[in-house]
Symmetry: C2
Amino acid sequence: MKRILSYFILFLVFASWPLKAQENTFKVIPLGVKGGLDESNLSAYLLAPTASKNYICLDAGTVYAGIAKAISNGVFSKSPEYILKNNIKAYLISHAHLDHVSGLIINAPADSPKDIYSSQYVINVFKNNYFTWQSWANFANEGEKPQLNTYHYKVLETQKEVALKNTELYIRPFTLSHSNPYKSLAFLIRFRNSYILYLGDTGSDKIEKSDKLDRLWKAVSPLIKTKQLKAIFIEVSFPNSQSNTKLFGHLKPSLFYDEINALAKYTGIQALNNFPIIITHRKPHKNNEAIIKEELLENNKLKLNLIFPKQGELLKF
Amino acid sequence: MKRILSYFILFLVFASWPLKAQENTFKVIPLGVKGGLDESNLSAYLLAPTASKNYICLDAGTVYAGIAKAISNGVFSKSPEYILKNNIKAYLISHAHLDHVSGLIINAPADSPKDIYSSQYVINVFKNNYFTWQSWANFANEGEKPQLNTYHYKVLETQKEVALKNTELYIRPFTLSHSNPYKSLAFLIRFRNSYILYLGDTGSDKIEKSDKLDRLWKAVSPLIKTKQLKAIFIEVSFPNSQSNTKLFGHLKPSLFYDEINALAKYTGIQALNNFPIIITHRKPHKNNEAIIKEELLENNKLKLNLIFPKQGELLKF
């Protein structure tokens, strides 16, 4: 009887193994995680289906130094230039502030041809401010001549899903308010029937006098209830001590939880229990990064799985 | 007699001591040394008189990550933000390509009020491309409103020496040709009667069909002969294998030595023996940094003191 029980337990362990393995649909390699100042570690996240080498790069504040860090961590084995050219298949840019695009621009001379996906508003900033012959060189396919054609601009329409060329991924963009009237984007990324939600810089609806986050929460909440949404990447730039008048379109822990509660109204509290939320864009002023983390962990009433990403360290969802 | 001789030797040692000490007039802390790609290590050099804490920043590709590296090397003891705010008194920008200004722009939100010195051409790029409310925020005192007034633009006139506010230093700018007609600057920096020459990106006169370097060599050669010029910072971006048609306004070792020979015509060969020349802006493509160094050292017929700076490691001249 004991032996039969042992076999049964062994069977259960093996039976559950493939299920466990299936749980990870996406892998993410943060190339930069900070919300400013430190040029070696600014917002950029590589994302691909677990079994794929075809990554997209969500924002591109730091690229080369992030890949170098991932290599030193054993996440990649080739050179930074090789990964840049061969494994990054597209850039998705939430907004055009330099801490989200500097790495892309600096690395353009060594990059291979690929697409830059964003709103018309953001692409106009690339055309008029960055990829000009005064500030740099025009590595894109539109704007000042000569056009070097490394990058092709792809304008996204709000809420319309499109396939990302040379990847197995699809995205659907949503508009965010980042110091109204300045606009930023969130990307809902799909692989088969699984999703990741990545938000660029955003203020809270209350402070921004906006309904952008509310609309986003409403749209993604069914995917949380069905467990198809695997994780949310969202910014918390400042600690709670930052005055509401000096947020410049960013979140702080108290406002982050206001928004999580707004989301919970659509999903129910239970659906958010242990739900992975990756905290991006903490600004490295004095000891603020540690304070933001503490303030978030201390007030985690819904028991979210709060994740504080590190540059070059692989995450799976 | 032996005792008298001993005293005499002792006297000579002590007499020579203050002369030795006086030899180092300037200190330089490279905040970034590479000519592209690696966002954590792009062109930026802090410079001050040896006994001073009032630095200027020559170009500003990487600022924060470079200060952090200098701190980890024990060169500074305060935080990166403290050094940024208190010890950098002015920025001198050779030209507006993003790998020379990205660190300044990214760090503007944490910086203290100070001046940005450059040509009208470069300052127009700051006004029209970088410090705009589409790409970033206007941290300067001119251009799009509102103006946040952290930075004050100071337009330099070619070859006219000006005092740098809040420092003991003076500069005289010279025009360089960086992929003609694009212009870059060299800065001749003076402390009392000693000088340092810093060149931004530059092509060779031959390739650029220019006389800009020849004019510069002619102007500074008397200071080399009198030993008042302590060092020259000059770029060598590519190895000799780079085709002359793909230099994009940069030097390679063979063209560097063409220019050194042009300089030697004004100074004589002897004056350049052991003269400190700091090689900046090597582009980190594949193994090129090592190849450039090798090609320079192998062909050093005039026995220049070639220095290959490292991020965050103090240099004295």
